[in-house]
Amino acid sequence: MMSILDNAMPLAGGTDIVPTFKDLGSKPVRLIDLGLIDELNGIMEEDGKILIGPTTTHAQLLASKVIEEAAPALHDAARWIGSVQIRNRGTIGGNLCNASPAADSAPPLLVHGAEVHICSLEEGHWVPLQGFFKGPKMTVLEPNEILAGLRFPQVKGAGSSFQRIGRRKGFTLSVVNAAVYVERDGERLREVRIALGSVAPTPIRAPSVENKIRGKKMSGGLVEEAAAASVEVAKPIDDVRGTAEYRRDMVGVLVKRAMREAWRRAGGEL
């Protein structure tokens, strides 16, 4: 069994890797179709946590009332990934393992404090999603490991939002994306988490910004402060989809939008 698994590539929805097979020519590729394993698919609520199987498609996330209520930012992101056809095939696990800095699933999961279940045939362990990405197209997964699950806490009264800018309105990669998560304590931000995508080699959290505004009273001024500080955290590059300068400016815009919407979804007024 192990020798069969040697150099084998796990296949989920295939939307990212199948087009690459053309370039491999006739070179044999060993594939393991994770889609055949029912246990890796689905959305569950268990002990105050939401569990998501890695082969759960973006269409399944979009259709899920549980996700819409427990992680609205993730639900927002599912709407903007790909097209109908891609959402019907593409999976949340594939989106993370492909490790694009622009992956739309990543910022929402980062702000919801998600952990990923990394498994080999011998053992499995849960690690925070933050440590999962190593660089563009690189993760901590060893060749004998797969991402076998995701989980994050279900918090009553929390709110989150995902915002993105693409070159078109539909079916396009994010030039910049951002997610904000808040827990309210009256008019104060009991907890706040900010994640940014497409502005660094991996999707990133912005702890320095979070620490600056955590516990403070929510206001228009605080939103401006968070946006300005987030711009400083972003280290984008120029590429075919946008310039670094544009990306930095848009980080501020998206953090403002996401923070206001997350606050509103948590039942706050502004």
């Binding site: 594939l31 179709d33 109908v84 056809q85 019907n88």
Partner: protein, 154 residues
Amino acid sequence: MVNFELNGADVYVEAPATMTLLDMLRVELGVKSVKKGCEQGECGACTVLLDGSPVTSCLILAPQVEGRRVCTIEGLVDNPLLKELREAFMENGAVQCGFCTPGMLLSAYALLRDNRHPSEEEVKTAIEGNICRCTGYVAIIEAILDAAERIAPD
């Protein structure tokens, strides 16, 4: 050997494991309505229904449809909803070169099957994965809304 249901018929195909569903349909089974466009899942010309859901057949490997249902436009030839869509496409001038049309019709069909009263926004979302280089989409969107009205007069 791959065994699946194609337009209601049980088929067995000898296909290499890395062959795409698109190539299996066109080359091995001669289904030429499924168009080969970008081969990256971007253009939607190769759209088929897999267990009823629109997918791009260029991103699916042949063995992945084992035991599943694949439907191409040929499978809906006698379908009343598709007939309304076809007529609305013709009357609204929603077809020029026709390359995108089979995929476009399948995406529109899946939308109207699940949602009889789509808004213009919902129509746009349903076909965001189908590129048309001739019409500029306006006639296509109008045709789909037109077909929706015909099937649901209330």
